[in-house]
């Protein structure tokens, strides 16, 4: 068999699939993209050894998913659900709940970053 052609075909297949994949992902915006945009500023200013304590206020069935997204997007920072081992607290709050939860979120902490992206508020606060 034409040896070189065999290998070239494999690489061409990968290139073709990648081009299609790139086209596809540029038109998709999901929940994880929303979280990514919301955390963009945090990832810019937080040093990579920051220990985040994560909290999600909203649909409770999404809590685990949201913490997983945050973990992935903020890596190599450590994102914990345990409040005792954190430097800063990271809260993602459903915009509809924000007005009532504001006191609970800030509660004597210094707000380091707060911004809204679509459905959620992303708030980074200091240690209490």
């Amino acid at each position: 068999m034409k040896n070189i052609l065999f290998i070239i075909l494999i690489f061409l297949g990968v290139v073709y699939a990648t081009v299609n994949f790139e086209e596809k992902i540029s038109s998709i915006y999901g929940l994880i993209d929303n979280v990514k945009d919301g955390l963009a500023e945090v990832t810019n200013h937080a040093p990579s050894n920051t220990n985040f304590s994560f909290r999600f206020l909203g649909d409770t069935t999404k809590t685990y998913i949201m913490s997983t997204y945050a973990r992935y997007l903020l890596a190599p920072n450590y994102v914990s659900n345990n409040e005792s081992e954190y430097d800063t607290m990271l809260t993602i709050c459903d915009a509809r709940l924000y007005a009532t939860a504001k006191h609970e979120i800030e509660d004597g902490r210094k707000v380091l970053m707060k911004q809204r992206y679509n459905q959620y508020y992303f708030i980074e606060t200091s240690r209490k």
């Binding site: 068999m1 034409k2 040896n3 052609l5 065999f6 290998i7 075909l9 494999i10 690489f11 061409l12 297949g13 990968v14 073709y16 699939a17 990648t18 299609n20 994949f21 790139e22 086209e23 596809k24 992902i25 998709i28 999901g30 994880i32 993209d33 990579s48 050894n49 997983t68 997204y69 973990r71 992935y72 890596a75 190599p76 920072n77 450590y78």
Partner: protein
Amino acid sequence: MSTPNRFMIFMAILIGCISSLYFFSLLFYIPLAITTALIVAAAILLFMWILPSGSTPDNNLPAYSNRKEWIGIIVLAYGIIWMAIVAPEKANKYGEWDAYTIWNLHARQLADPQHWKTIFRYADVHADYPLCLPAALAYFMRLMSSPDSLILPFVFHMLITISLPAIIYGELWRKNAVVAAIIFAMFPIQVFYIFQGTSQYADVLLSFFFLCAIICTKYIQQNRKYLILSVLLLGCCAWTKNEGLLLATVMFVVYSRRYFAKDNIKYTLLTLLAPIAVIGTFKIVCPVSNDLVSESGTSTWGYLLDTDRYIMVFNYFVLTARKKFVYVGLLLSIYLILCLVRKKRPGQEFLLFASCLFAYFMVYVLTPKDLKWHLYTSCERLFVQLYPLMLYAIGIDIARMKWNISEILQQKNSQQQPITANTKQKIKATVSTNKHNREKREKKR
């Protein structure tokens, strides 16, 4: 072995090599430039060692006409294009669940040389998983300064997803072009395989390493470098996933006559030192133990007598095969009927497949986790790991069968006819010629 297949085996070994060197560079604070220099040097050496055909030249294989060669290329191109079209459609932007909760998360952690050990602080992200895939990805992320890249993991997995059927095709094509084409077609038409390939999990990579190791064992007698490569590839299996360790063990048992033959044992044991050094170091560095091992106790052995567990695992295996691998049952039935009709025992590759399946079966029977949950979350992926092996085992066995009617008749006649003095002389002559040739080859070596 054909040149493209040697190239793919080079690729597989290189992935293992990159991840191991990168892991050690993190451990010993070696700068990226030096690591890259080491990787380039290793790549050149491996290329020069693996690519030359040595004493197994391609011309040992039957020559096909130019037209047939082109038909072979067209079939390959058709399959690859099919996969290249379907894969992006099936692929998720960030991969599937385990991709961003385990594999790509680990890769992102490992891409930071200062804080990569954060990985071990998480109790619930399987920090005990070996680092072959994440370390290789992390190396390229650092090299391209793009830990956020979504393309990089996709390219990596796509390369493996296409290479796996291609290596089977390359192996079977010379033996039986039709069988090779049918087996190759089983990959693109099996959408679940493509989906798993682009899900950015480690299962297809593990399967690729395992299959490469099996293919290498076929050439051990012709050239010892394939023995070394095979052992290294089994090491890569164990370096990719904990299941890889189980697969490697089963392989060593089934192929013990080859690995531990008098002439080979010292090469096998010496080569094993390399993967043991890498995996052993990882196990020492990683403070997290495997959940299945740590959770199992003496009570687990009581599960051996629980027939309900056997029935449940068996039913789930059948259900998964029927649901996710639609054509498997049909192909398996055809193969077993052919074996019965031809009065032929399944080959060693099929025995290996059956042993691996049995090993996985027993893992489920003995699992300390909730059995239903464990089956639900992992059974499909384990099947993906063994799917290429099964197809290869069936393909190679069918390809070995004689399909030319005159050949079959000749074989039947020779079985029926009593051995005459003339035939005896012919056999003697063939034996002495073979012996002479063997001696010549050994002298050459």
